[in-house]
Amino acid sequence: MRAFLHRIGIGSLAAAALLAANPAAADTFKIGYIDPLSGGAASAGLNAQKHILFFADKINAEGGLNGEKIEVLSYDNKVNPQESLIMLKKATDEGARIIMQGNGSSVAHAITDAVLKYNERNPGKEVLFFNYAAIDPPLTNEKCNFWHFRFDADVNMKMGAFGDFIAKNKDIHKVYLINQDYSFGKSVAAAAHKMLAEKRPDVQIVGDELHPLQKVQDFSPYVAKIKASGADTVITGNWSNDMLLLFKAGKDAGLKVNWFTYYGGGLGSVPAIGKDGVGYLKQVTEHHKNVLPELLPDEAAFEKKYTEKSDEMYYWRIRNMFALLDAAAKKAKSNDPVKLAKALEGMKLDTPLGPMEMRADNHQLLQPLFVSTLSDKVKFDVEKSGLGFVTDEKIDAAKTALPTTCKMIRP
């Protein structure tokens, strides 16, 4: 009996603790973060989660959004579109006003459709969708909607940045495209074809490969094919394990090509290519650690807070996303999602790396982009590898803008 009472005691204590936490939760501004937190792509999802918590805390430390503290609710979607929709339902049920997601354009397509439907059916309880990494172009073109905002440059914008670079580099003659077999990978391949036809019609495309997404264990067969094609340059949108393993196989086979990558600086990839990538590995991003002579204050604070080896500021765009959210809340003097969205449209902000602007016509963020190359002579290295990126070229925000087919319908 005593043990029984004891157990009840503990149970009610736990319940009381939960209740105690809840009243506070009632007046927080909830953000639903839906991304892979387990499974193959978890490393990316968990890394971005740290960024989101970091910048939410920063706003909270300064008093929150119009006095409301931000609370981040995390949901694991295992990069699965169906699972994401269940998580979206959960997030809206729990009162999330903004959904944040980035990994996988297939997931982003599912979420943007579902958010559109949800908002039509629930006037007065709208939610916004902040996309920080799904860069399939249709999301801000034919599939755009008022609730979706993208904070990363899309496939075509990044390819454009490479294009200017490749146009000038006359050593490039034979290009091999290798991408993941889904909407994003196909977009990269299509963008590369278009870019090369425009800027370097003399360049020969010697291969156009699509491989299964995050399923290949050993890229040696693909590397053998790249070598046999005589390519001097590879363009790839591969991310996470697909990037890392491709590098690894290339290193084993002594593949010496210029790598034009979207995510070659992502977690684990630089250590995988090692010194072989020096001078060869290029990426286009909105930030890298040597973008300014000194670490940015946010970067330094981030590395002080998270101390694991892989904890480095990678998603500068998440910083931009929260800066814009904060500014929009101040401008709207309200945390109502519809008002926030209207305030965000056309909003311009200065950042340490130059001005940025949220386009009103398609909700695509324009921010400075950097083409950079791996080097062994850097001040700040990636994942303690002794290697880091140096800027080849900076493209100002305004120059990254592309025409859009978006026909925005506003409430």
């Binding site: 490393s43 264990q217 050993d218 040696s220 053998a224 094919k225 046999a228 977690l267 684990g268 250590p271």
Partner: protein, 316 residues
């Protein structure tokens, strides 16, 4: 072209041999105990993590020995304290047990080493070029991988066919009571077999760890293909597992090199598929894109045409 064929063949053989290292232990356990061990790939993963950890303490060569031994101990413990108790409830309970165990091991690995891939690079002592081929150096660790795998095959084959122990083990599978009545300790025999099977998986993990990538999902990624190998080869047949591994390794590797689609096959026959629609999408899929599903296609074909596998002795 010659270069592509040579390298594809080499890559296929290396991949096939790795598959064999993984599946030999599984097929051994199955043939002797009738247990389909879903946790086998998890032990492989443990081998990769153990070797990385041990190599940091005492170097690569000792780790190559110690890590498989540790995996063997884990295997022995699984049999002695888990499977043996579950065995009384029959095969379904055994399968559920190993299935659950795979998840438990996966979570334990995440707790111990985290979710991100660890930096399991090729150890410096074996990170050099073995020989030159078409002006490219071929890494020594791949040669080592092949040597270990072939050695493993020879060891298993001989131990099975040529030693007294092998004969007793084989007899224990079909007639455990008789073997017991003859004075052999059958339960101990089972522990031993499970330990050897697990140690082989661990050894595969040591090599596979840096050849592929050491991360908590490696077991789940390789698990299905290993089952394909043992079913195609014939459940319980070690030569069968060897042939099936090589077949799958080489087929998959060469498929990647082929940029042909069904469309190219039909075109000379004067049959053109409509420019859009599902049929068109299907017809334009290149062999290279379909490479990863080929093993599973092979699995289905084998189950239809020859259910006992290439070299198996009984129906699957």
């Amino acid at each position: 072209m010659k270069e592509l064929v040579t390298f594809s063949l080499l890559n296929g053989v290396v991949y096939g041999l790795l598959l064999f290292m993984l599946s030999s232990g599984l097929t051994l356990i199955f043939s002797l105990m009738g247990v389909l061990n879903f946790a086998h790939a998890s032990v492989f993963m443990l081998g990769a993590y153990f070797s990385w950890q041990i190599a940091r303490w005492i170097g690569f060569w000792p780790a190559l020995v110690v890590a498989p031994l540790a995996c063997g101990l884990v295997g022995a413990a699984i049999e002695r304290y888990g499977l043996r108790r579950v065995h009384r409830q029959g095969h379904v309970a055994e399968i559920l047990f190993t299935f659950g165990l795979a998840y438990v091991i996966g979570e334990l690995v995440i707790m111990a080493w985290g979710r991100n891939p660890i930096e399991n690079r090729v150890p410096a002592v074996i990170d050099f070029a073995a020989f030159q081929l078409f002006g490219t150096s071929y890494p020594f660790y791949k040669v080592l991988m092949m040597a270990i795998s072939v050695g493993m095959f020879a060891f298993l084959y001989l131990a099975f066919k040529r030693t007294r122990m092998g004969l007793v083990i084989q007899a224990a599978l079909t007639h455990p009571q008789t073997v017991g009545a003859l004075g052999h300790d059958v339960p101990r025999l089972f522990v031993l077999v499970f330990a050897i099977g697990s140690a082989l998986a661990g050894l595969a993990g040591v090599i596979g760890g840096f050849a592929l990538m050491t991360e908590p999902n490696m077991a789940m990624n390789l698990g299905p293909i290993v089952f394909v190998v043992i079913v195609v080869g014939g459940l319980g047949s070690i030569p069968g597992a060897f042939v099936a591994s090589m077949l799958i390794g080489i087929v998959q590797t060469f498929a990647v090199a082929l940029d042909y689609s069904l469309m190219d096959l039909f075109r000379p026959l004067g049959w053109n598929v409509a420019a859009s629609g599902v049929l068109h999408d299907l017809a334009t899929v290149k062999v290279a894109q379909a490479a990863p599903i080929l093993p599973y296609l092979l699995l289905v074909l084998v189950l239809i045409v020859r259910p006992r596998g290439l070299m198996g002795t009984r129906e699957t």
